[in-house]
């Protein structure tokens, strides 16, 4: 824990470099990593059990799912202070910010509901019934489709963002965790933790068009549990966090074949790039640290100690 005087000093110092913000699920804090020095420069208290984390488009506001406080907290990134809470429904786990920069789509894990919140009026706009244990959330780049994945129902639920109604429900493998639109929104990728796969959907037809599978020598298949993933700047390569397999897979997004595996910390869940996507930061829950990967060389550079159970990560440019 930082002493108050030290916090005051750090807060008074203008941020020197771009940052990666990491939620620590079992510490109720955010660790802020300076991308130049690769060190933690600030530790910011949050509500209980912080998980999903994302910035507004202009990076003036930070949204954090404080799951056990049943709220989304809006934090001023400069001061680290909580500005106010947003109504989020019970047990918010993950969310996605609509391209309009205004509406948050929130998965309420305990309630089988997706909540849509207007961050300006701070009101709930809609609640949509989905499968058991919703978790992954994504909004298409054109803003017309929102996706919720449900962990026990094993589906991706396709939500029309205009009517807030489901227009398709597609089965995926066991325990879907994370969803993302890729290739300018023409493909939807959904990772399945227990199934050990990523299912690729054609967005226009909602039909399955591919499946990514993983195999690491010396690691039992059951332990290969894909969760978070990110695509490189040119969109040709995907990096997939494989949970208790303690590796990040490097996947060719054309052939869906795995090119290699990078050893990182224990139980790796989510990933975030720096601004030019030359560095990749992974949250390693069990070892309580963040691995920094050199994207071009596909090598782990450094391990940075953060709080207990790091969960999500978000990039913040500081303009310097």
């Amino acid at each position: 824990m930082l002493r108050p005087a030290l916090i005051a000093f750090l807060l008074a110092t203008p941020a020197a470099a771009d940052e990666i913000w990491v939620t620590n699920e079992k510490d109720d804090t955010i660790s802020v990593i300076d991308i130049d020095t690769l060190e933690v420069t600030r530790t910011i208290p949050t509500g209980q059990r912080p998980r999903g984390i994302t910035f507004s488009k202009d990076f003036s506001k930070l949204y954090v799912c404080a799951s056990d406080s049943n709220a989304v907290e809006v934090i001023d990134p400069e001061s680290g202070r909580v500005l106010h809470d947003l109504p989020s429904g019970e047990d918010p786990e993950q969310f996605a910010l609509h391209p309009d920069d205004r509406h948050l789509y929130i998965a309420n894990e305990d309630d089988a509901i997706t909540t849509v919140v207007d961050t300006e009026t701070r009101r709930v706009v809609a609640q949509i019934g989905v499968g058991v244990e919703p978790e992954g959330m994504a909004v298409s780049p054109d803003g017309r489709i929102a996706i919720t994945t449900s962990e026990t129902t094993n589906m991706a639920h396709w939500i029309d963002t205009e009517t807030h109604e489901l227009f398709a429900n597609t089965l995926v493998d066991s325990r879907p965790r994370h969803a993302e639109f890729v290739r300018d929104g023409t493909e939807l990728w959904v990772s399945a933790e227990i199934g050990g796969t990523i299912t690729v959907f054609d967005v226009a037809t909602q039909a399955e068009k591919g499946k990514i599978r993983f195999a690491i020598r010396g690691v039992h298949d059951d332990l290969i549990q894909p969760v978070g993933f990110r695509l490189s700047a040119d969109g040709k390569t995907a990096f997939v966090a494989l949970g208790p397999a303690n590796h990040v897979a490097v996947v060719d997004t054309e052939s869906y074949e795995v090119e290699e595996y990078i050893l990182v910390g224990r139980r790796v869940w989510h990933l975030e790039f720096n601004g030019d996507k030359s560095l990749l930061f992974t949250t390693n829950g069990v070892s309580g640290d963040v691995t920094v990967i050199d994207v071009a060389r596909r090598e782990a550079l450094k391990t940075i100690k953060v709080g207990r159970f790091p969960w999500g990560a978000a990039y913040r440019p500081t303009g310097s």
């Binding site: 129902t153 094993n154 029309d160 009517t163 089965l171 059951d222």
Partner: protein, 389 residues
């Protein structure tokens, strides 16, 4: 938005408005009175097992809603004195999927009914070895771990810790004797030494006497690292810890317990299942609840993936490598095709936390290391389960 409207129209036809598949399950329970126990602290819940089946049903229904599948569950409870077969026949007339909480002989008798021939039955109450071996039935699956699986989980842990010398105190009920036998067999399997055994035959009230009696009772046990206790009804075992002659940890039915499930399991997303169950039942989820939940979810998962309610087709799917059930214990669960037992990790728990999760990585297996727990293919003498083999 036109495209969405069209899609919505198409999906409406196939969607929640019309149930394409109706899946009726029945839960049949024989209400066998539990033997008296010394303490009244932990009464057996009246809805033990059933509440788990109901929680599984709720999960199935939520999923079914999006696929035009409707699930129902009929609960039938019979007194111990009544003949269960007419009720079972009656239930089988309405449902091809039976979840059974009954003694071994009753499970076998129901499985042997001509009406049950092509049905899928789940044993959610008995860990008896015979049901997974010579006394198995082709239509009877088991979601509760066998006594051997629990014993092996514990012995693996003791091996890892190198606590190799054991002593055993066993109660006199049938289930105590069965667990004691499983512990003996498992100790041999893992090369541990069972140095001494005693049978618990006290009739004094241990709530007052434990501190005087138990030290003396355990004084003549040979030297041991761990004291095992087989007391499946929870009669006397709670009075053993801290009252032993030598300061020794206690394991088995008390102390460090190998179980299918416990309220202290919180990782691997388990916290969500726990809170769903607590909301539903108003109490913590127990092993029998978990077994019933897994049985109902197995049918749900198989119906969802195959789009069929044909029991023969579902049976094949459940036994195929494609079948996976996410059971909140960190890895996919499946069924052994030689005796219908559900493969599952076994948490070793104490009162307030999970101590460890079996199997342990040092115990290797050519196919699936979950099969280092319980009767592996060559060990089981079950020949009826897989007719073609």
């Amino acid at each position: 938005m036109r495209r969405f409207a069209c899609l919505a129209a198409i999906l409406c036809l196939a969607g929640p408005a019309r149930a394409e598949l109706a899946v009726n399950l029945a839960y049949l329970r024989i209400d066998v009175p539990a033997p008296p126990v010394l303490s009244n602290l932990d009464p057996v819940p009246g809805d033990l097992g059933l509440a788990g089946a109901e929680a599984g049903l709720a999960d199935n229904r939520t999923t079914g809603r999006f696929l035009g599948q409707d699930y129902t569950l009929e609960a039938i409870t019979l007194g111990a004195g009544t003949d269960p077969l007419p009720a079972a026949r009656d239930a089988l007339a309405r449902s091809r999927f039976l979840v059974l909480d009954a003694p071994v002989a009753t499970l076998q008798a129901i499985a042997d009914l001509p009406e049950a021939r092509d049905a899928i039955l789940f044993n959610v109450s008995s860990g008896a070895e015979t049901l997974r071996s010579e006394g198995c039935r082709a239509n009877l699956f088991h979601t509760l771990p066998s006594d051997a699986m629990r014993a092996d989980a514990l012995m693996q842990f003791l091996t890892v810790r190198r606590w190799t010398d054991l002593a055993l105190i066993a109660g006199t009920h049938e289930r105590d004797l069965a667990l004691a036998e499983a512990l003996r067999v498992s100790a041999t399997k893992f090369g541990l030494k069972l140095r001494g055994e005693k049978s618990w035959v006290f009739d004094a009230d241990m709530r007052r006497n434990a501190a005087q009696e138990v030290p003396l009772f355990t004084q003549d046990l040979p030297a041991h690292d761990v004291l095992l206790i087989a007391d499946e009804t929870g009669d006397f075992s709670r009075y053993i810890p801290f009252n032993t002659w030598e300061p020794r940890p206690v394991a088995g039915s008390e102390g460090l317990r190998p179980v299918a499930w416990s309220r202290v399991v919180e990782q691997w997303g388990a916290a969500q299942l726990q809170s769903r169950f607590r909301k539903h039942a108003g109490r913590d989820m127990r092993p029998e609840d978990y077994a019933a939940w897994a049985a109902v979810r197995t049918i749900g998962e198989a119906v969802t993936r195959t789009g069929s309610t044909d029991p023969a087709l579902l049976r094949n799917y459940i036994l195929s490598p494609e079948f996976e059930l996410a059971g909140f214990k960190g890895r996919p669960m499946s069924f052994r095709d030689w005796n219908g037992q559900m493969r599952q990790p076994i948490p070793l728990v104490q009162e307030t936390a999970v101590v460890a999760m079996a199997p342990f990585e040092w115990f290797l297996h050519p196919q699936n290391d979950l099969d280092t727990l319980g009767l592996d293919r060559p060990e089981s003498t079950c020949t009826r389960f897989k007719p073609e083999s």
